[in-house]
Each structure stands twice: as structure tokens, then as C-alpha cells.
Symmetry: C2
Subunit: 540 residues, 2 copies
């Protein structure tokens, strides 16, 4: 028996379900415990606890018209709905809603690749299209584009970009929301809009020009509950001729400052266009056998000083920091870019360089197998090795949630953040995974993101402790100005609370919009802290 949405009478819910069935076909409305359980968040931090946020049912329309019908029915009966695309947002909530009892609006059947153009370099897709689907479409037709891919590839370009997800190739494309162009949206009341040039009946520029005339509203539909996106366009990379990579290593602790400054210059100029990767080779990398000398140095009271580590690095022939660069483009151009990067980094005394893998596109199957697939446009699931049973991991986990604060792109900010997060981990007991000197990810060209995986346990008492610690770390980090760009529903109210300027005026603005466009409050109640009016009153 489905769990009833709060405040809904069984009769009304039953009638809504019947009308959903009439709208989309009986076989596409799911109410059995077995079926509905599939929409649970596999990585829930409430695993096995009564607080786990679960759906009451699911409905899977096949067309935009069916989505409109479903939303109109939901309004009639005030059924809370929670849209998902492929629902693979693991670590940030999966396919489970913010409000228990919500009906999942599962868009997986809307999986049509509507167009891919390799002359103007764009795709138009439905929300159920996964990166694997899009890759297959492109690959089968030999289209000359390179997909920008997140980890892992079973997610959806629509869902990933709406959640401000990120990828691995060129800087402009890595920001998946920024590289979208044009949307079709079913509003909470069932009304259909198209944004940008999609609003012009005969225009051929829906995926070329995004603003249209008048307000540019697309951003309202990302990380929000203002509409159900049913089509979305994305700009694509043209297939490059070649790929080149290389690494610079620098010897001193303070070299991180010029290292990042030079990296910013190179990336913001487009001289390196692939995702850079910062490293701290001094600690030997994740798979290095433990070194007793280093261990002794690190575990003494106060830990190792930078000077001690620098001396250790000099003895071992290891740099203190490294930065891997990737280049996509014509062979002669990327060779000149890598040469220029080396010249720039050579201003740091002791900088050393190493060439990395290089390829010509298209790669051979053997090359793909050896490559970091997502960087060469091939979707993949190997990221799930993290936390998995392996020779390198004595404690496999049941899953994880991400703690992912944004940090300025300076070396000093990294050093500050390392201290803040190390201290916060000590203070709260939150087991942060990333080694002795955690480094940020470089998905966004102009900002760093620290990404800490918090493992989910099968022991509820561990999860409970970690939840509390997670909430404390959010607060501690926010005091230093480091706040998150994305978080699972369990922590969305906490994270949104840190965006508190002028007595939370931004959230109140979101609420004003919510009340206007979703007066019944039926769409994704609670997503990113935006609760319908009635529930807001109850919470306060």
C-alpha cells in the first residue's frame, strides 16, 4: 500500500492515481511497495531509519502532453510531485524527494535524442536521455563532436545540468548549465513554455541563441521547484584533432600560490582548455605503500611542518604540489600551448615537467580502454570504485554523500581551506576522506570545489552521528565563507540557511516566486529550501 502524502485523503489520492493511470497508461503508474522502493535514495543518510524520505508512488509519462496532464491532475488533488530525469544523482539525493509521500514524476521514458548538429555543435534532448544514450547516438552516426561528461555516465544531461553538475573536458563545456541553450518547461500549473528562441514558432535558433527577448528565465529552473524541464539544448565541443597532457611539479609549500595564479592565467586565457588537476605528490599518491618516515613526521604532535615536508620531498625526489594540464585541439596548437605553459611555470624555481598521455581523435578502442575515459568523451561508471571493495580499501562503504564547498581560486585559499576542513573534521569527528592535504576539484573554470565523500554506513548510529557532524561542518565552513554548491535533500535547508544575506532575502524572493507560480505548492516541495506557503508556516 502506498504511503499517503501528508494531508491528503485516501479517496482523493486514489482518484488521483486513477487519473494518472488514465493519462499515462496503467502500467506506467507505480504504487506497489516493490516498485516504489526503487525510488529510494540508495545512498540515503537515513538508511533503514524511520526518517528516511520516501515516495508514495511514481508516474512515468512518455510525452510532454502527458506531463501536462499529470501536473493538472496533481493540482486538482494537491498531490505533491517530485520530478526526476534518470534519477541517478547518487551522493546528492538519488531519485528520492525532499518530502515524504511525494509522487515521483519519473521522466525516464522521455529518452529521445531529438537532434545533434555537428556543424553548429549542439544537441537537443529529453530528460530521460542519459550520457550513454547521447554517446551512442553520436557514435553510431559518426558525428564530429566531443561530449563533456560527468562521473558517472548513466546520469542525464538535463538532470545533471539542472543540478549544476560538471564535467571533464573544456572549461566552457564543463559547466553543464552554462553550456545549455534553450529549454521547454511544464510549469507547476501544467502550462507549457519554451525559453529563448524556442518561443518563436518558426525559429531555427533555439540551440544557438539562449536569451530570446525579455527576461532570461532558464536559471530559475535549475536547483529549484519552479517547473518540469521536458526538453533542453546543449552546446557541444567540436571533435578536436588531438589531446595532450602534461604535469608540472613544484618543490615548496608556498609554491602553491604562484602555481594557482599561473593556472588561472592559462585557463582564463584559454591556453589550457582541459580540466586541470591539482595534486600533492609529496604524500606519494593514493596507492603508494605507507612510508614509515613520512608517517612518523605526520603523526607527531602538530604534524609535519612545511619545511620538514619540503626537505623530505627533496630527499625523495618528489615535488610538493603538482598540476596536471590537458589540451584539446590541433596538434601544433596544443604543443605550442603546453610549451607556453611550461615557460610560465618555469618562473617557479625548481619547477619540473613531465609529458602525459596524448592521443589523436578518434581514439582506438585500445586507447580508450587505457584512457581516463570521461576526459576523452566516453561515458563510464568506473567512478563507483570509490568506496568499493578493493585491495586499496579495507572498509568498503554502503554509499556516500558529498560535502562540496566552493573556494576561491588562489593558493592561499586552498591552504586556508585545508586548515578549516581539517580542524572541522577534528572538531566534529566527521570522517573526511581526502588524505593529509586535500585539494580542490577544478571542474568550474573560475572557482574551486572541495569535494569530500562522507560514507554511508549500515549502522544507523554512525549515520546519525555523521548527519549531525555534517550539519556542524556546514556551519563552521560557512563562517569562513566556504559554502556548498549542491547537497542532498537531507541537508538542503541547512545549506540554504548559510545564504543568509539581509535576513535570507534571496530565499524569501524564491518563496515569493514559488507562491506565484505554484500556488498549490505541489512541485518538489522543499527542494533547495523552498517550501510551499502552508508548510513554511508550519515549519516556522
Amino acid at each position: 500500500m502506498p504511503k499517503l502524502p501528508a494531508g491528503l485523503r485516501a479517496n482523493d489520492f486514489g482518484e488521483a492515481i486513477r487519473q494518472f493511470e488514465a493519462a499515462v497508461g496503467k502500467q506506467w503508474v507505480f504504487t506497489s511497495d516493490e516498485d516504489v522502493a526503487l525510488y529510494r535514495d540508495s545512498y540515503s543518510v537515513f538508511l533503514g531509519e524511520p526518517e528516511e524520505i520516501v515516495a508514495s508512488a511514481a508516474v512515468a509519462p512518455d510525452t510532454v502532453e502527458q506531463v501536462q496532464k499529470v501536473m493538472k491532475i496533481a493540482n486538482t488533488f494537491k498531490v505533491p510531485m517530485f520530478p526526476i530525469s534518470t534519477g541517478k544523482n547518487l551522493g546528492y539525493g538519488g531519485s528520492a524527494p525532499n518530502l515524504s509521500g511525494s509522487v515521483v514524476l519519473d521522466l525516464k521514458r522521455m529518452n529521445r535524442v531529438l537532434e545533434v548538429d555537428d556543424k553548429r555543435h549542439f544537441a537537443l534532448v529529453e530528460p530521460g536521455v542519459s550520457y550513454f544514450d547521447l554517446y551512442r547516438y553520436v557514435h553510431e552516426r559518426g558525428l564530429k563532436v566531443l561530449l563533456d561528461l560527468p562521473d558517472p555516465g548513466w546520469g542525464s544531461p538535463v538532470g545533471n545540468s539542472l543540478d549544476h553538475g560538471v564535467g571533464y573536458s573544456t572549461g566552457e563545456m564543463r559547466d553543464h548549465f552554462a553550456s545549455h541553450c534553450g529549454m521547454e518547461v511544464v510549469l507547476p500549473n501544467g502550462e507549457l513554455i519554451r525559453t529563448g528562441m524556442g518561443a518563436v514558432p518558426n525559429a531555427k535558433t533555439w540551440q544557438d541563441y539562449r536569451y530570446g527577448a525579455g527576461p532570461y528565465v532558464d536559471g530559475m529552473f535549475s536547483q529549484s521547484n519552479f517547473g518540469v524541464v521536458t526538453k533542453m539544448g546543449f552546446w557541444l565541443n567540436p571533435l578536436p584533432d588531438a589531446y595532450l597532457s602534461g604535469t608540472v611539479t613544484v618543490p615548496k609549500h608556498q609554491d602553491l600560490v604562484p602555481l594557482v595564479d599561473i593556472l588561472n592565467y592559462l585557463e582564463n586565457s584559454g591556453i589550457t582548455n582541459g580540466m586541470p588537476q591539482l595534486g600533492s605528490p609529496i604524500f606519494g599518491g593514493p596507492f603508494a605503500p605507507p612510508d614509515p618516515e613520512l608517517g612518523a613526521m605526520m603523526s607527531k604532535p602538530g604534524g609535519a611542518t612545511p619545511a620538514e615536508l619540503e626537505a623530505y620531498g627533496a630527499r625523495k625526489g618528489r615535488g610538493y604540489w603538482s598540476c596536471g594540464l590537458q589540451f584539446y585541439g590541433p596538434e601544433k596548437v596544443i604543443a605550442a600551448q603546453w610549451e607556453h605553459a611550461r615557460e610560465k611555470f618555469s618562473s617557479i624555481p625548481g619547477a619540473k615537467f613531465q609529458d602525459g598521455p596524448s592521443y589523436k581523435f578518434p581514439l582506438t578502442p585500445e586507447q580508450i580502454e587505457k584512457s581516463h575515459k570521461v576526459t576523452v568523451g566516453v561515458p563510464d561508471l568506473s567512478i563507483f570504485m570509490i568506496g568499493a571493495r578493493s585491495p586499496f580499501n579495507a572498509n568498503p562503504s554502503h554509499g556516500h554523500v558529498w560535502f562540496s564547498p566552493i573556494v576561491p581560486r588562489t593558493g592561499q585559499a586552498i591552504l586556508d581551506a585545508q586548515k578549516v576542513f581539517t580542524d572541522a573534521a577534528g572538531e566534529t569527528g566527521l570522517p573526511l576522506l581526502n588524505g593529509p592535504a586535500p585539494l580542490p576539484a577544478t571542474y568550474y573554470k573560475r572557482a574551486f570545489i572541495f569535494i569530500f565523500g562522507i560514507m554511508v554506513s549500515t549502522d544507523p548510529s554512525v549515520n546519525k552521528k555523521n548527519r549531525e557532524a555534517f550539519r556542524n561542518v556546514i556551519k563552521i565552513a560557512a563562517e569562513k565563507g566556504f559554502v556548498e554548491y549542491r547537497t542532498p535533500p537531507a541537508f538542503q535547508d541547512d545549506v540554504v540557511a548559510t545564504y543568509s544575506f539581509n535576513n535570507h532575502s534571496l530565499l524569501r524572493f524564491h518563496e515569493t516566486i514559488k507562491d506565484a507560480i505554484d500556488p498549490n505548492g505541489i512541485l518538489a516541495a522543499g527542494r533547495y529550501g523552498i517550501w510551499p506557503k502552508a508548510m513554511r508556516a508550519k515549519k516556522a
Copy 2:
């Protein structure tokens, strides 16, 4: 005596003016005819006619707090307000409102450059800052950034980007709205919000990461009447080492198709990063003396055929089409990029290449004087030579408005658009300026914009005829899918009407938002077709 806003009692308006004076200082509230006349649109298509849309007064606050106070007073007395930054949006409306009787909210005194960072490459500015101001700030401090500039330089980065204005340097930066990061906005009710990381009190990443957590609302404040933007961040180009330019010329009419395809590949790959410039050298360029042979060919019934023009071009040693490329970056890199571009274009039989100007940054004053200034980051007003008295222009005009439709980036679309606009000009009598084969501008990396200047006359009967023709051309072009990205207030209702998908559902969505966040309808009534509820009812 100020012209009273419609529906407002003289007493109330007088009291509002007195309260504005108390809020910002008596000398910063303008009500005399002489002062208010300065806010007229110098390029109004209603020049000297009673229909000209004019302000009733102006108020110029100096601080965000004063803007808030002004908006609260305006709400109390229901005074329609129209915000401008520098108000130099000539050709698209200048500083005049959409609704006669509005009080101009003139933000010119808020002209502080708050921060420029040449390590993370951003600026944070107030709306009254002009491109000249920002250039001066950067130049005086020797900061290593290159500004992306529109024509002309007395406009404001805030105002220009909110109007979806464009510039001349690298592709990412030319789209001024897309390269902004972070906003501060006074809402119509006087409430203050900051978007993105600006909502986090201690964050240092306001200009690094734009989304924050939850909906990304910035786009709502562009080409709209949803708020008064009081601060805005912009990403900047790092100062490049060098600049290089070159031109490819191709001989055949149909070569335009591969020319554009190759250009798209080069630009979308970042192989050429400066603004490209399409040309049709076969017609000799704007300053060429008239050639009787060409004239005879063009003026015969049906005009010259492509084959005749190709043969003419071969005799004269002129290509049919050209594409100028610009490159910013390290000398060796841009040399390799230009070389690669030549290789690609060489696949078009008969393609010829010519090197253009090249510079090292910073340019010498002599080099700047000889350069196309806006392409090397130096703001300029020389664009006003168009329509001005000159040896090349027998009919100087009083001003102009722009007709600027978006067209797909293919050669065939250009050829189609040329026919559509030439036919429409013939049909309506609208005097379109751009020669026999008008070519689009390439400001936006993924879309073309045709930009036709319609001259404003001192003879109202000419303007009246042109206004009607302009409205007809909007409709004719929209039937073919070519619609405008930006237009003066006089034509905003017409242009917005072409975005008509699903019975104008996008406009109705805008109206729903408008009613929710500006229930008194006091902010920029009518901007981009969004009228307050009461006026909508009257119009309908």
C-alpha cells in the same frame, strides 16, 4: 512643470517628489523641463511628435540604501519608475522609459569600481560605471586584464549586459551577460538581495561562482522590469601577450556555406578566439568608388546572378566572400592557430589568405591610434561616424534605431536571410542600409545577428512611415523565424509578440512573476512587453 504620471494625483506626485528629495538630496531630484528633457531618447522614432515617450522627473541616488528608499516611496505613491545606468543605450531607447510620465531612476552617481582582480580576472562595479571609467581604473593601476568592449564606450557594463549587449574580444567575453558573475538587486518593493555567493556573508567567491545554491535568478533581471541592479561582477580576459589577425577570401557564391562551417569549427573549438568578421569584398567595400560595370550588372531586372558576380570577381581579382579572424594569446600559439585556420580554409578551392595587423600587448599609443580600438581593449566613440556628416555620407541622419534579428550560423541561413530582408525592404519601403549583400555580425559565438540601422529623420512623416515599415518587417521576418534579440521601447511589444509559442505562454509567465514581485507595477512598466496587471487589462 513635470508631466504627471497617468492616474497619479498632483498632490501625491508632489509629496513623492518631496520624499525623493529627502531621501537623496534636493539637488538630485530633477523636475524642471530643461533637466527632464535630458532624459529624452535622442534617437526617438517619435522625434517631435506628441507620442514621444517622455519622463516626468528623475531622481539620482548615490547609494544602495537610497535606491531602496526611493523604491519604497515609489510604492507608497504608486509612482512609475524607470531605472537607467548610464542611459546611453542609443538606437535601443536611450534613457527614455516605456511609459510616459515615469520617473527616471538615474544611477549615474553610483559609479564606483569596487574591485578589479587581475589574478582571478574579474571586476565588481556599480551601474553608473562606464567602460571608460573601468578602463581608466585598470590602466592607472597597470592591471593585467583586457576589457571586452561594446561600441561605444560610454555605456555601462551593468546596463549593457542587462540589455544583452555584446563586445569585440574573445568569444566567451563578448556575451556580456554570460560573462557576468554575481549581482546585487533592489527588488521592486525595496528589498535587497544578492545572488550567487553574494548571499553568503563571509564568502570571497561572489565573482568566482555564480549559481549559489537553489534557483539561479540572475537572468530574470536582464531585459526586464523585475529589479534594479545595483552591483554586478564581470569576468575579464587576462591581458594576452599578443594579437594577430588575418583574412581568408573565397571565390564562389556557394563557398559561404563551407566558410561558415569551418568558422564555426574554429570558433567553437577556441582555435580562433577573437570576433570574426564576414565580408563580401566582391562589392568593393563601403568606401570603394562606384564601378559602372558592377552598377549595370546589379541594376538590371532581377539583379546580378551569382555566376555573373563570380566572373566579375575573377576579372577584378576579388573574392566573393571574406572572413577576418582575430587571435589573442601567446605569439607562438596564435601563429599556430592562424596556420591551422589556413589549413582548414584551404579545403575551399581558390581560398586566399592575407595577414592583418598584429600587436604585442600592451600596445604603444601610436599602435592604439591606428588599431580598431575596441578589439584591443580601448573604449572609443568613433562608431558615431555612422550616419554622421562625412565625405562618404551624403545624407547625414539625426540618429538611428537598430533592427537586429538572430539568424542561425550557416552559410545557407545568411543567403536565406539576405533574400528575406531584401524582399522585406522592397515590400515595406524600409530603407535598410547595408549594401547589396548584408552580412551578419558575429558578436555571439553561436548565433549570427543581422544589424540594420534605420535612420531617424527630422521629418515626422518619414519617421511615421518607417515605424510602420519597421513593425511590418518584424512580422515578415518572424514568419521566416528571424526575430530580434533587442529593440527600442517603441517596438518591444511588437517584438515580444513574435515570441508567441503556445499562445504567448512565456510572456504570461513573465506577467505572473511581475504581479508577484511588483504588485503595484511601479518598475519599468512595459519593458519588453511586460505591463503591470492594471495596464494589461486596459490594453486588452
